[in-house]
Assembly symmetry: C2
Homo-oligomer: 169 residues x 2
């Protein structure tokens, strides 16, 4: 059976890093609100609210706050959950799989920016192999996400995640 | 745990009917291309192609043909599959959970018409209790689906499904 996800370099952004922390703790940092809020936004942005209902169709909601105090809610739902291995969610559907209305994203006037995100974790001799992928409907959406600094932003957040785990959770 | 789907009468359309055919055969008529094509479009429209990859993220694709020969492809993916009980799919995501671009629907200029559909089946003394529900992002999408004749269209298709099963499959 062919895999569900078919990579498309024109539409997808992805990076892989090896991080020196255990896979089970990376999973917890992504799936427990109290452990997600400290690292999810690269400072000086912060994550001031988070709701996680970890089942297909369940809510994944965060509210980011800019240094100036502006608040930017993000609402999506989970699509696929394989504990400690794979987490897939989208902002194209709301909880209960209801289609979402296009919404403006922080720092952008573009009203139509949908993506599905995949986090994949695997054991590695040095800790955990961490792959993050975001897939889009069209090249414009992909380019926009790249221009927003997908890899730098998610990479800086990952640094914060790793630092949090190393401090002890 | 609260149900994933939260009904909203302003955004959702739904109807329930009891049909005098077995639940297992209704399920097959919805999940096997050779058994879906004969009934899926109310005549004189026909379904000339169908692809079903029955897993979350798998393809649900049909091509409808108008009496004048116009062809209207519909592509979506499955979200939730409980054999003989529940089938959920959306056109807001393509196979592999990739967000879909807004596309024009047959007979409409509206370029942004996303919905998630749910089929629910239950045993009934007279056969099968059949509930079809479509949920939308906003009232405009819901009204459009109502104006397109959701209940009449899906009802006529269901009549064709029941007739097909009674002829023998």
């Amino acid at each position: 059976m062919k895999p569900i996800y078919q990579a498309n370099s024109r539409l997808d952004l992805s990076f892989t890093r090896v991080v020196g922390v255990p896979r089970a703790l990376v999973w917890r940092a992504w799936t427990e609100p109290a452990l997600l809020k400290p690292w999810f936004c690269p400072l000086p942005w912060t994550t001031i609210d988070c709701e996680i209902d970890l089942r297909p169709g369940g809510s994944f909601r965060t509210t980011m706050q800019s240094p100036e105090g502006g608040q930017f809610p993000n609402q999506g739902c989970y699509l696929e959950i394989v504990p400690h291995e794979k987490l897939v969610w989208t902002n194209a559907l709301l909880p209960g799989f209801r289609p979402s209305l296009p919404v403006a994203t922080c720092g952008s006037d573009d009203a139509n920016f949908m993506f599905t995100a995949m986090l994949e974790l695997a054991d590695h001799a040095d800790g955990t192999r961490y792959t993050a992928t975001v897939i889009h409907a069209d090249e414009a959406g992909c380019k926009k996400h790249a221009d927003m600094g997908f890899e730098a932003g998610w990479g800086a957040a990952l640094d914060q995640l790793v630092a949090m785990i190393k401090r002890g959770i």
